[in-house]
Each structure stands twice: as structure tokens, then as C-alpha cells.
Amino acid sequence: MKKLINKPEDVVIEELEGVAIAHPDLVKVHYNPNFVVRADAPINGKVGVISGGGSGHEPMHGGFVGYGMLDAACPGAVFTSPTPDQMLEATKAVNGGKGVLHIVKNYTGDIMNFEMAADLAKAEGIEVEAVVTDDDVAVQDSLYTAGRRGVGSTVLAEKVCGAAAEMGRSLKDVADVCRKVKGWGRSMGMALTSCTVPHVGKPTFDLPEDEMEIGIGIHGEPGRTRMKVKSADQIVEMLMEPIIKDIPYKSGDEVLMFVNGMGGTPLVELYIVYRKAHEIATKHGLKVVRNLIGPYITSLEMAGTSITLLKMDEDLKKLWDFPVLTPGLRWGK
């Protein structure tokens, strides 16, 4: 294992120390339990929005804490959900009296830990709503699985829910925005290489030099199928087809297209992916009205990409364009 780390067990804590030193104007880092919180939290009269999950997906979630996005983020160990005490303390730290929204990705561990935290917060008199994102179309047979995984849509949900909260909307209204993203967003990813969890020390899965995994999860969970590597255009077709067919998106729909890097894929390749994905969307009559291109929900150093489509309406466009000022995403302010 070759990594820019000191000791595997110190990875998360030393990353948090770096974040705290780098962005004191935007965030504070709370230790034991660990969470990243807006420097100006709690904000009276504003709904708090928090998320959390295993580390290793940076900038999600800690990089999205700040004005117009998350109020706090709880990092677990690498690829391991955080614990209820983290979410409870983060919920209390961002509660401005109007309740707190938990944005939870659909993984068994995340759900259980967030549920326990929400129960504890409610017992302390804080109003909590939780919305679970589950946009990964690679997981087909949902009745016999833990359900679809929460992936790219989560980043988009955090952006628009953060904007809605900043505008002063109620907890129910902010949660409704999240449910809209859950209903209208779909994703699929692929990997060219595996990734290595620091405390494991060897690749999560073996992928021969000339093969790829279609439908990969953001923790290196195997996907739908493994095959020989194809051209970028062919790969994009394999990702876009199941996405478009899923809701299904209709001709004339306006969409946000999010082309995400898994951590080890350079922007030059992501733009090649975007070019083809845009062409396919256009051919289906979809109008790409907003986009996001870059590594925003990563899987350590995995090479690969994921594509997310989110159907947009006037409100979502307004929320997307609303100013945001976080370490990982910033515009308009």
C-alpha cells in the first residue's frame, strides 16, 4: 500500500485537523465525538441540515459544510458509518429551534446509526426529520436487497436542501425538497480500478488490468457486471441507458447532469464522459439545464466515474443557483 498517510488509524483525525486549520472562516471541527460544523452554528430560526457517512468520499460530506449547504457533517471511519453519539451531538450543535433534517444514504449501517441518533434527539425535544437517498440504479432487485444505495444524488440533495434552509423554509418544506431529489434523481457508476482502505492495506477487490466493473458502489461494492474495458463512449452508453429508463425521464424534461469522479480519474476524462452523456441526454429529448463535473463523492483513489441525472423544476433551479460557500463547493457569494 502506497498512500500519503502517517498511520492508518490516524487518517480520519489528521484529515479533520487539516480541515480545521484550512477553513476556520467556514467551519469548526468538534472532536470526541467527531463532527464538522458551520463556524456560525447554531443559526437561530434556521432549519439545521446535517449528513454523515464513512470517510473516504471527500469532499462529501465534511467539505459541504458552510453557508447554503450543510450545517454539520459526521465522519465515520473510512467506509464505516458514523455512530449515534456523533449525529446526536451534531444535531444539538446545529439546532436553531426550527428542527434538524438528517440526510442519510441508504446503507444498513448508516440507517441504523442515524435512527438511533434521531430517537435520542427527539427524546431531548429536538424535532428531527430524516430522508434517505437511494438513487443507484445499478441495484436492480430492490425487494430482495437492502434497497438501492445512496450515491450521487446525495450531493445534490445537500446543496438544494441547504439552500432551502438558508431561505428560511420550514423543516417539512426542506425535507420535501429532499424527497423531491430522492424521487427525481438517479445514478450509476463504474470502476476501472479498485481502492485500498488504509486500515486494510490491500485493494478491496481485484480487478484485472483490462477489466472494469459496471454498477460499482462508492465503497467498492461489486456492481452489476464485470467485463473487458471499452471506450469512454461505450461505457457512458452503458451507464446512461439504465438511468434514463428508470424513472423514466421524458422527452422535454429539464435535468441537472452530474458527472462525478471516483477519486482516481482526472478531469480530462470526466469531460469526455460529460460530452457523451450530454449527447445521449439530448438525443432522448432531455434538456441539460445545469451541470456539475468533478470529484465530489469519491471512493478513495478508485478510478472511475458515476453519472447522476436529476429532473429539475423552477424551484430546484432556484435552489441550485442559490449562493453556497463551503470548502468543497462555492459560488454566488
Partner: protein, 211 residues
């Protein structure tokens, strides 16, 4: 013969040892069908448990179990944290105030613990999870109680049932947890959660049967 408070402390310490010895094994099972963190998470949890044991060594068995559970919840993360945390908290509620457990008490505690895991994880027998090891162990223990078998015979049967349940997960297709994303491809691999559950019960057998 009964299981004393000191026996319980010895079991928890032995669990920490066994988890440490099997850390890489559990992680490699998890890497095959999950996300390669089960061994590291359980290790982190039980190492922290070791630091908490001195504070409760003179308390009742219920308090000891509940302390183990709360510690696992706040340190393990993943699905294992809430599930094993709930396991020990429910066992603790069942054994509250007790300074020693007869085999019937342990049977009741294990059943309460297993029911807690089922409730928290919403898994059923055959879903390729922890409960595939736990439910047969509970059944075997209850039968042993009815047959009025000795403690060591009861523990041995319970451990064997957990082992059989663990091995029976190999051909199963996972329906819960991260392994379920694999569908048919999860078949042919032993479930890491069932494996850690077996290890804990097998450790109970080895630690307590010698008394």
C-alpha cells in the same frame, strides 16, 4: 453450576482477544461480499470495551452487558455497532441485577439479545446475516435447558448450532445488508456477521465450560 460475574468479565475479555486474533479473517470475509471493515470495526469496539471493564467489574451482570453494548454502539460504527450494541444491551436488560446466571438465565439473555438484533436489523433466518448463527444457538440452548443438560453441555450444543448456522450461510443469497447488493454473487461466501456471532458464542463456550 452458574455463570458468575467474573465469568462474564472473563468472557468479554476473551471476546476482545478472539476478535483481535480474527481481525484480518473477518475483514477478508467482509471484503468478499461487503465493504472490508468488519474486522477493524469489531477490533476497535472491543479494544475500547477493555478500557471500560475495570469500572464495572464490581457491578451486576446487567450493568456489565449494558456497558459493553453502549461502548460498542459509540465505537464500532457500520451496521455492527447498533447490532452488537443492541445485542449486549438487551442481554443486560434480561440479566439486570444478577450477580450470577444459571443456564436458564443465560438462555433468556441470549434470546433477548437475539430478538434485539432481529428487531434492529429487521433480518430473518436465511437472509445471510448474524441471526443465522444466533437463532440456532438460542434454539439449541433452549432445548438443552428443557433436557436439563449441564451448563457445559448446553454451551457446547449452542456453540455447535451457531457454527452450523454460520456455515449454512455460505450458499445463501444475501437479502439484508451490503452483501445483498451482490444478489446471486453473494452465494458461495460465508457471512462475516454470522462468523463474528459464532466466534463470540464459541468463546462463551470455551470460557465458561471449563468452570
Amino acid at each position: 453450576m452458574a455463570i458468575t460475574r467474573d465469568n462474564v468479565i472473563s468472557w468479554i475479555k476473551a471476546c476482545a482477544q478472539v476478535v483481535a486474533e480474527n481481525r484480518d479473517y473477518l475483514t477478508s470475509l467482509d471484503a468478499a461480499i461487503g465493504d472490508a471493515d468488519h474486522g477493524a470495526n469489531m477490533y476497535r469496539g472491543f479494544q475500547t470495551v477493555l478500557t471500560k471493564l475495570p469500572d464495572v467489574a464490581d457491578k451486576d451482570i446487567g450493568t456489565i452487558f449494558k456497558t459493553v453494548g453502549m461502548t460498542l454502539i459509540s465505537t464500532v460504527g457500520g451496521a455492527g455497532g447498533p447490532l452488537y450494541g443492541t445485542f449486549f444491551i438487551q442481554a443486560g436488560m434480561s440479566s439486570a441485577g444478577k450477580l450470577e446466571m444459571e443456564v436458564t438465565d443465560w438462555s433468556a439473555a441470549l434470546e433477548a439479545a437475539t430478538n434485539g438484533v432481529i428487531m434492529r436489523g429487521k433480518a430473518a433466518l436465511g437472509d445471510k446475516t448474524m441471526v443465522d448463527a444466533l437463532i440456532p444457538a438460542v434454539q439449541a440452548l433452549k432445548e438443552a435447558v428443557e433436557l436439563k443438560l449441564s451448563l457445559s453441555e448446553a454451551l457446547s450444543r449452542s456453540s455447535k448450532a451457531a457454527e452450523d448456522g454460520m456455515k449454512a450461510t455460505i450458499p445463501l443469497v444475501a437479502r439484508k445488508g451490503r452483501a445483498s447488493y451482490l444478489g446471486e454473487r453473494s452465494a458461495g461466501h460465508q457471512d462475516p456477521g454470522a462468523t463474528s456471532s459464532f466466534l463470540l458464542l464459541d468463546t462463551a463456550n470455551k470460557t465458561w465450560a471449563v468452570n
